[in-house]
């Protein structure tokens, strides 16, 4: 479906919000307001925005540990997500999950799992339950290039295909599993080929171009839904920041990072909108300022929220 002017503005705003959220999360980590591991999504925004664009409220999403982007796109709750990073009681998971474990039952966002490849087997169960109950839903399963080398990837693709499960597997190939490049980790560097032997449709897409991602996503989502068959898509993307905050970055050159930044997904889409006359540069600046305000409010909300009380420590161990 062609994007309306408002769609385009919403898309740009969503990606800019993700970017600003992550930049602020970084700042808050540096000032020790955010603890633990923090995996920033900067550079990959078009993948989360594009793939969540065509899905419906009844659909399910499962992410990995670099999932702030997907959570922001799906849950639209930057305040609760920031408060979760702060470990506060008003966080999306009451401060029990943290950056890597974002969940929202209401928005059918199923995590946030911090074990590489751990989300794929769960996506099978989601797909199974959808078919079991004959729901008109699909499951989007996001994971990184590193997950392809886990056994769970192969067990899951095989079973999804064997059982005709409505799952869209989205591999965000950001070129590195922590500090190990795809070339050093995969005997077959074109990762989509690793998915080709399971009898399902396999695609690859430019993950820096949100319009290409949306086009691919719409087609795949419709196909998964109408045929109840899984599809695998490799989205070629790049993370500008380190794997996590402690990353020394020795494994790649500055030139390489700069090269990718030249195809920055937000700048690329902004330029399209300006050149086609949808938005002016001032409009874009205004959207940027709006995102800035939203994120500042999120931080203020997170700051004001209390930590969960000690009395709550044993809550939710058992249902």
């Amino acid at each position: 479906m062609p994007l309306s002017r408002q769609d385009k503005i919403d898309l740009l705003r969503e990606m800019m919000l993700m970017r600003r959220f992550e930049e602020k999360a970084h700042e808050m980590y540096e000032s020790r307001k955010v603890g633990g591991f923090l995996h920033l999504y900067i550079g990959q925004e078009a993948v989360a925005s594009g793939f969540t664009w065509p899905i419906e409220p009844q659909d399910y999403i499962i992410g990995a540990y670099r999932e702030h982007g997907q959570a922001l796109a799906r849950c639209a709750e930057p305040r609760a997500i920031m408060a979760e990073l702060f470990g506060k009681r008003d966080g999306l998971c009451g401060g029990r999950g943290g950056s890597m474990h974002l969940f929202s039952k209401q928005r059918r966002f199923l995590g946030g799992t911090a074990i590489v490849g751990g989300g794929l087997p769960i996506a099978l169960g989601v797909g199974f339950a959808i078919t079991y109950r004959e729901e008109d839903a699909i499951c989007l399963c996001f994971f990184g290039d590193g997950a392809i080398n886990e056994g769970s990837f192969h067990e899951s693709l095989n079973l999804a295909s064997l059982w005709n499960l409505p799952i869209l597997f989205i591999c965000e190939n950001n070129r590195y599993g922590m500090g190990t490049s795809v070339e050093r980790a995969s005997a077959v560097p074109n990762l989509f080929r690793r998915a080709q032997c399971y009898g399902m449709e396999v695609q690859t897409v430019d993950g820096m171009d949100v319009l290409s991602v949306i086009e691919m996503a719409e087609r795949c989502v419709n196909c998964v839904r109408s045929e109840s068959r899984p599809i695998f898509v490799e989205a070629i993307t790049y993370r500008y920041r380190g794997h996590s905050m402690s990353d020394p970055g020795h494994y790649r050159s500055r030139d390489e990072v700069e090269e990718w930044r030249r195809r920055d997904p937000i700048a690329l889409f902004g330029n399209v909108l300006v050149s086609e006359g949808t938005l002016s540069k001032q409009d874009i600046e205004a959207i940027s300022a709006e995102c800035e305000r939203t994120i500042d409010e999120s931080v203020a909300f997170a700051e004001a929220s209390e930590p969960p009380p000690r009395e709550s420590l044993y809550e939710h161990v058992y249902a």
């Binding site: 995590g111 799992t113 959808i130 939710h316 249902a319």
Partner: protein, 336 residues
């Protein structure tokens, strides 16, 4: 009351719960057409169809993952792992996902899932197929661990586990599958977290579960003839432990022997000994003793294997030692 086998009791529990609740389904290797490697799922495919009795490839991590994901959406999966030894291939899903998601999500996503898995040694199956892993699972907050020792408890506990809103590791004993016992035909459950005094006594308490229950009851008969009155407490649930029943028994007998088929180091008996000394020190007339498997990978040789396993004679010897209050150097009796 009719006498049926342990495997039949489990089968009846599955059938009844599937009839009762559409959201219950069974999934695992060979559970459908083959009707279960140990015939526990016999007849289920014919009755409930492929939708609810689902054969899988040999992909343990994926199998448990199906359970976790389906449970997150509100179904009640009963996952069968053909043996507990294969659970190691699914540990990430069991420990990192099933046991954590309810907590990490702040109570948004309960995981009402049962993971059935038989264990046991004594059939010359070699080191990789003769293991007892209850302490691995009982270590983990977020999991419940159940280990029935009789057909009655097997049926009642499996029904409770299926109705429970948490991930339950349901450990069965391969050597008990053909054992018979009285099982009512009408609907009943055995609550999770409640131990049972299987035999009353006054001089020593034998704490046990799974196949060790039968060994302890036999040992208690022998001891009775020798004038020693042993009480047998079948724990039935290993997490949460029923400390009230455990300590209540100790207050009557003042001596404790834990009997388990697993290895000694970090075995569940170590936890039980700790609970007893910490919570009921004044009631103990001597150290808590343990009868365990020898601390070795299980050998294939029939003779070696039998010598490594706990048995009635070792239990009788441990009880006599407990009655003397003395500590002796014995490889299979560890004094704490």
């Amino acid at each position: 009351m009719p006498e049926i086998m342990y495997r039949q009791a489990l089968n009846h529990a599955l059938r009844e719960e599937m009839q009762r609740d559409e959201s219950v389904f069974v999934i695992g290797e060979e559970v459908g057409e083959y009707e279960g490697a140990y015939r526990v799922t016999e007849g289920l495919l014919a009755e409930f169809g492929e939708k609810r009795v689902r054969d899988t490839p040999i992909s343990e991590e994926a199998i448990v993952g199906v359970g976790v994901g389906a449970a997150m959406l509100g179904l009640r999966p009963v996952v069968e792992l053909m043996t507990i030894n294969f659970s190691l291939l699914a540990m990430d899903q069991i420990i990192n996902h099933a046991a954590k998601i309810y907590y990490m999500s702040n109570g948004q996503f309960p995981i009402p899932m049962v993971m059935r898995m038989p264990e046991g040694a004594g059939m010359q199956l070699g080191a990789q197929h003769s293991q007892h892993f209850e302490s691995y699972f009982a270590h983990v907050p977020g999991l419940k661990v159940v280990a029935p020792g009789t057909p009655y408890d097997a049926k009642g506990l499996l029904k409770s586990a299926i109705r429970d809103s948490n991930p339950v590791v349901f450990i069965e004993s391969q050597l008990l599958y053909s054992k018979r016992g009285e099982v009512p035909e009408e609907d009943y459950t055995v609550p999770i977290g409640v131990a049972e005094v299987k035999r009353s006594g006054t001089s020593v308490t034998l704490y046990c579960w799974l196949r060790a229950v039968g060994m302890c009851l036999a040992a208690a008969e022998t001891l009775e003839r020798e004038g020693i009155s042993a009480e047998v407490v079948d724990l039935r649930t290993l997490r949460p432990l029923d400390l009230e029943t455990m300590i209540g028994s100790l207050k009557r007998t003042h001596r404790a022997v834990v009997v388990e088929e697993a290895w000694p180091q970090c075995g569940l008996g170590a936890q039980i000994a700790d609970d007893l000394q910490r919570l009921a020190f004044d009631y103990l007339d001597g150290p808590v003793l343990r009868v365990t498997q020898d601390d070795v990978p299980m050998p294939y040789s029939r003779e070696l294997e039998l010598s490594a396993l706990p048995n009635e004679e070792k239990i009788v010897a441990a009880v006599k030692q407990a009655m003397r209050g003395a500590v002796e150097e014995r490889p299979t009796v560890v004094s704490i």
